[in-house]
Structure formats: structure tokens, C-alpha cells
Symmetry: C2
Subunit: 206 residues, 2 copies
């Protein structure tokens, strides 16, 4: 099923397809088409069919896609038919929001570990979990075998904490600190920086 040679940009669209299928299913829908998916997403129907065809045959000509079946296939392809435990490092405003974020459930993720280096925060509870001291990060992450982390520390601590996450065995980091971090081969990084998105839009505004 999985093909490591699928272009990264195609892989990046699969979560969008899955999210849209899940919303359709919640709306009570059971069948859809590449045309309808495309209209919801602003992507051409041909592109969607081409993307999905890289992984198999999911629909029948004329009858479209069974939403539940295609969603389950995409969950398997993206490895979110399971639930990934995650650590949040840095419990400022952003980390706090991530620790309590309701949008992870049913999408393959849950937060189980929280870390901060502020003695006033360590030992307090956020979203049902106790914030632990940053100095325990490597041991606790190894013990819990956590492979996914979200990084919400200040810019000047981002690389140092990243190195500790990698040392602890983390293989996927979602970085909210507005700085590029360096990781060894085999570790994935994705970035969330609202200003990058805002500046992409103001370019087009006078």
C-alpha cells in the first residue's frame, strides 16, 4: 500500500482529504465524488483522483467513493488508525492551548506529557496532565516511548530542547518556535508560525 516514493506534496494533501471526509461523515453523508471533494477544497477533481491512485483503487467509475471506506484507507496510509501519544514542551500560552486542544481526538493524536522549566508551572495541572520539569524530559519521553512532540519554547531554547527530544527518541516534531531547527536524518520537522501565513496574505494587500 505505502510507497515511499510518493512526492511529499501529495502526502501533504492526504490529511486534507481525510479531514474533509470525516466532516462529511459527521454530516451524515456516506458517498462522495472527486468533484465534490475538489469543490470543498479548491483542488481539481483530476488532482484528487491522481493523488489517490498512487495508493490504490478506492472508488468505482460512476458511483464515487464510499466515505467511510476511503477515510479508513487514508487513516491506514497516514498511520492514524492508531493514536499517537505526544509531548508538549513549553507551557506558555501556545503550549497551554495545545495541551487542552480538543481537535486532536479522533484524528490520531493525544497529549500525554507536558514539560516546562518554570518552577511555578511544574507540578500544576493542565488539561488533565501534570507539568513536569524540563530536566526530566529525556527520561520521561524514553519511558513513555513517545515519538511525537510539539515544541512551544522560546526561540533561544528551541534548538537545545530539540536536541534533547531527538536524544529521547522523538521522530516527529511540530515546532511552534519561529526559528528553523536542525535534526538528524530520520527525524521529521513541521513548522507552525502564524506570521509566515499572514505575510503571505499581506503581499497581496495594498
Amino acid at each position: 500500500m505505502e510507497d515511499k516514493t510518493v512526492p511529499n506534496i501529495v502526502v501533504g494533501r492526504l490529511p486534507l482529504y481525510l479531514r474533509t471526509l470525516q466532516l462529511m461523515f459527521q454530516e451524515g453523508r456516506r458517498v462522495t465524488s472527486s468533484q465534490e471533494l475538489g469543490e470543498r477544497l479548491g483542488i481539481s477533481a483530476a488532482q484528487i483522483r491522481k493523488d489517490l491512485s498512487q495508493f490504490g483503487e478506492f472508488g468505482k467509475q460512476g458511483t464515487g467513493y464510499n466515505i467511510e471506506f476511503l477515510a479508513n484507507q487514508l487513516r491506514q496510509i497516514l498511520h492514524v488508525e492508531r493514536v499517537w501519544d505526544m509531548a508538549v514542551v513549553g507551557i506558555g500560552d501556545v503550549g497551554h492551548a495545545l495541551a487542552r486542544y480538543q481537535g486532536f481526538s479522533n484524528r490520531g493524536f493525544r497529549v500525554v506529557l507536558l514539560f516546562d522549566n518554570d518552577p511555578k508551572k511544574v507540578g500544576t495541572n493542565v488539561g488533565g496532565f501534570v507539568i513536569q520539569d524540563l530536566s526530566a524530559l529525556v527520561a520521561k519521553i524514553q519511558e513513555a516511548k513517545v515519538l511525537v512532540a510539539m515544541l512551544a519554547v522560546p526561540v533561544d531554547q528551541a534548538q537545545q530542547v530539540t536536541d534533547q527530544l531527538v536524544q529521547a527518541g522523538v521522530r516527529a516534531i511540530l515546532n511552534y518556535a519561529p526559528i528553523n531547527i536542525t535534526v538528524p536524518t530520520g527525524v521529521r520537522v513541521q513548522y507552525i508560525d502564524p506570521v509566515l501565513h499572514l505575510q503571505r496574505m499581506t503581499y497581496y494587500l495594498e
Copy 2:
């Protein structure tokens, strides 16, 4: 200077270049090269030179780029030599973090209006601004001539609030609700959904 035919993907890299130049300047650096920028960003030096050449001649062969000059040029291209006032709609955990986010300053943005429909939140202060009732959104945004908004409302309210933002004259929306929204031509939307980024990484994890 500005060319509306520049591909969207090139425009999308300019904020990354600007962010990196600003960090270098804070580190006390005054001159850089496409090679060094490329190493920090994981982008080839040739790509960076090609991207920048679409907007003018910013460096001299052999002496590299003056960091402050290039950063100022990029600010002008991206229209962030000024400061854009922003509204945040939906002051849950995510909206709260956005209202207090320190990362906007010196990057062209500031939050000036907050809206929520929860009577318990309306009238309270977050990050120096009073949360106003959602029913006042169109009038207040028009009065303040705000063109940029961040949307952090629940999924089932996202489209309705978007329609109000558009009616009020907003032309750039950063949407944190995990659903695609529809806007008329001339209004830009960017999306932030951490799960999309996480699933892009778990695809590569076994």
C-alpha cells in the same frame, strides 16, 4: 518592484527569508549569502537567488547580501514595513494564545480587536484588550478599518463568522478552525491546523 505574476510558492518563501534575516540581524550579523541562508533553511542557494531575482538585484557577486537592506526590501515587498491591525474572533484557548502572542511584534502585525459570543467572556480583558460581543463584529471592524482577522471559533460557526468578516471588509483571514471556508475573490485565506502537519509526519513513521 512587485509583480503579481510571481508564483504563490515563491511568495510563500519570502516570509521565511525575512524571518531568518531578522534573526541573523539580532545575532549581530550584518552580511550573509544565499549559501548561508540556504543552509539555515534547507533550501538551495540557487533557489534563493532565483526567488529574490524576481524582485530585483539585492546582492553583489562576491560580497553577498547586506542583511538590513535585504530585510527592508522584503518588508516592503510583503507590505510589512507597516503594522497591520488584526481582529481575533473566538477567544477560547487558541484565540487567547493569539491575543497574547508576543511573536507578532516587529513582524508587521498587532492584535487590536477581540470577539467572542460567550457572555462570561465579553467585557473581560485579554492581552490589554476587552473582548467584545460577536454581534458587534461587523460594526467594530468597519469602524477600525481592520483588514486582517484570525479565526478561532468552533468548526460549526466558522463559515458564518467568515461571512461576517467579509461583509465587514476583512481581506485576509487566518483560519484556525479545522474546516475549509469559502470566501469571494479578493479575500485571502490561510489555514493553521496542527493535525494536518502531524499526519504529514506520521505517514513516514512506522
